[in-house]
Amino acid sequence: MATTTLDRPLPVSAPRRKRRGSFGHYVVVALLVMAMLFYLAPVYVMLANGLKDKSYMTLADMWKLPRDLSGGGFAFAWNALKPNLWNSVSMAVPATLFSSLFGAVNGYLFSKWKFRGSDIVFTLALFGMFIPYQAILIPMIETLQRFNLYGTRGGLILVHVIYGLPITTLIFRNYFANVPSELVEAARIDGASLFGIFWRIMLPLSLPAFVVVGIFQFTNIWNDFLFGVTVVFSPSEQPITVALNNLSGTSSVDWTVVMAGAVVAALPTALIYVLLGRFFIRGLLAGSMKG
């Protein structure tokens, strides 16, 4: 099939390696290593201090390695955050699925079945992904209350699906725009309907787009804090970002536990990034640039 933005590997220019051993080469490597130390320092702080035992851990030991592998604050953090971890999973997975599906259908219609004013509708929809959500909180909460969804995971899923529509529609629209229109025209002449074209041509082509949108949306929803803290008020129902923030603000909890908690909260998206980083970068770029 035609190459599209999402299929193509990240554009990389032909290799222009600096000659190994040249002075410039060492300078570049040295600068990169220094930058890497800066980027990894907080990760080290999280992991190393999470593993330390609070009984012989003081603030002066922050940069030291843990003395043993007893697990430090992880056991406590895991037990404290486990219910919220599950809350986040059971919220982020369905919200990601629904918003991807809606995005696929909308993106298909906006790219292949344009109508008068469809580009304006699309652009107005895109505005929704940039707004500060503070500006919709009051009516959103009142609406959720009216439908008995306030304080529930269902309400949280609903708002994530609705406010996820712009970005998922955008990525799918740009993806489908790269499917040649001749293919669609030919199928229509052969008698395929709007649904038939979607089902038999577009969907089979769209697996890469689903992976990209799925990863991107899962990460966004997992990392959300504002909706989590305002829609769900019961601590046992709140997502992990809110629970981590509460844990961090509890003075009776040792800070090694907070560091371990930060690792637990970050683990799912971090794992996705490490395993599927390629797709993650494509989603990032697809969401910010025109396809």
Binding site: P11, S13, A14, P15, R16, R17, R20, L32, M36, Y39, P42, V45, M46, L59, A60, M62, F102, V105, L109, W113, K114, S118, D119, I120, V121, L124, A125, F130, P132, Q134, A135, I136, L137, I138, P139, V159, I162, L165, R188, I189, D190, G191, L194, W222, N223, F225, T230, T241, N245, S248, W255, V258, A262, A265, A266, Y273, F280, L284, L285, S288
Partner: protein, 348 residues
């Protein structure tokens, strides 16, 4: 879009031929907006309808826990209250300072990293992955960890001690480095006096106009998280610059520095603009990171409109004031985003 010419078809689909093609296309043209409408109507209600309601709340008397949507007299009084509050003036100052420093650090840092990686040294892929990694984490995780790194009792200050920097400083007669970071209430480089001399009406501003020290650690944490995004944007852009351009420049005897300064960076201007718009609007909305890392800060040194809105709505229950502040946030973001979207739409 051109109307498709109905050609004689060899399709085996008999049912399709029974319906005249033209009419079938017409039906399907209606079908597209029809299928879009449920999700689009929901979205438009949740975006534009809700914004409209928030504007209404900001103009109403709903300033207590008793819901009262009657219009306030005078109508814009909540906005007057808002801009008269020293705290909100400080918030606007902080947003401005934060945005400028954060953009310089993240866009500049991202560009630098992209240029270094553009040299294709050994391990480029690993470096790239490490630099973008923080983007996959939540602002809450970032805030929780950096809060301890910038705790004056440990973290960075401990490094000054343990790496011998303070020992060196003492040797040359300077005092040890021990900044208060997120606990420091100082505002440096104040310009109130100078500003009043040029624009006398600015004497109405109560906030100290300068750079709050406590805000600097927060910009560093934000840049740590988002500079990888700028890097990824620049790397994607650099990949589209043809090899001929680079070769022509090096044949003309351009040094690497000249190549980037006079050719590649100017060619990447559209990327720079997009990146600044996207990161700039993130920084105008910033909330979670500061909420987790420093909160309001000493003397509101790290307070921003996002936190102000949250406080007024869910703490003080002054809904009209909170709504007004959220609309100010929306207007700031719109000033950046609407021109960007308008340009994108022209290219559709």
């Amino acid at each position: 879009m051109a109307t498709a010419t109905p050609l004689p078809t060899t399709s085996a689909d008999v049912r399709a031929r029974a319906v005249p093609q033209r009419r079938r296309f017409y039906l399907e043209r209606i079908l597209s907006p029809l299928l879009l409408s449920p999700s689009m109507i929901a979205l438009f209600v949740f975006v534009y309808g809700f914004i409209g309601f928030t504007v209404w709340v900001s103009l109403s008397n709903w300033g207590t826990n008793k819901r009262d949507l009657s219009p306030r007299q005078p109508l814009m009084e909540s906005y007057g209250d808002l801009f008269g509050q020293t705290r909100f003036q400080i918030d606007l100052r902080n947003t401005f300072i934060f945005t400028v420093i954060f953009l310089v650090l993240s866009v500049g840092g991202g560009l630098l990293l992209a240029i270094l990686l553009d040299r294709h040294v050994f391990g480029s892929g690993l470096f790239r992955s490490v630099f973008l990694f923080p983007y996959a984490l939540s602002f809450i995780t970032t805030g929780v960890v950096w809060r301890w790194i910038f705790n004056p009792e440990t973290g960075v200050n401990l490094l000054f001690e343990q790496l011998g920097i303070n020992w060196l400083l003492e040797r040359i007669g300077a005092g040890p480095l021990h900044p208060g970071w997120i606990t420091d209430p100082d505002v440096v480089f104040q310009v109130n006096g100078a500003l009043e001399r040029v624009l006398p009406f600015t004497s109405a501003i109560d906030a100290k106009l300068g750079i709050p020290i406590a805000l600097l650690p927060v910009t560093i944490a934000a840049a740590w998280q988002l500079s990888g995004f700028a890097m990824a944007m620049y790397l994607a852009g650099m990949g589209t610059i043809s090899q001929e351009v680079r070769e022509a420049a090096s044949l003309d005897g351009a040094t690497a520095w000249q190549l980037y300064r006079t050719i590649i960076i100017p060619l990447l201007r559209p990327i720079t603009i997009s990146t600044m718009i996207i990161l700039g609007h993130v920084s105008l909305k910033i909330f979670d990171l500061i909420f987790a890392m420093s909160g309001k800060g000493p003397g509101f040194a790290t307070d921003v409109p996002g936190i102000f809105v949250f406080d007024k709505m869910f703490g003080a229950q002054q809904y009209n004031l909170g709504a007004a502040a959220s609309i100010v946030m929306l207007l700031l973001v719109s000033a950046v985003i609407v021109p960007y979207l308008a340009r994108q739409m022209k290219e559709l």
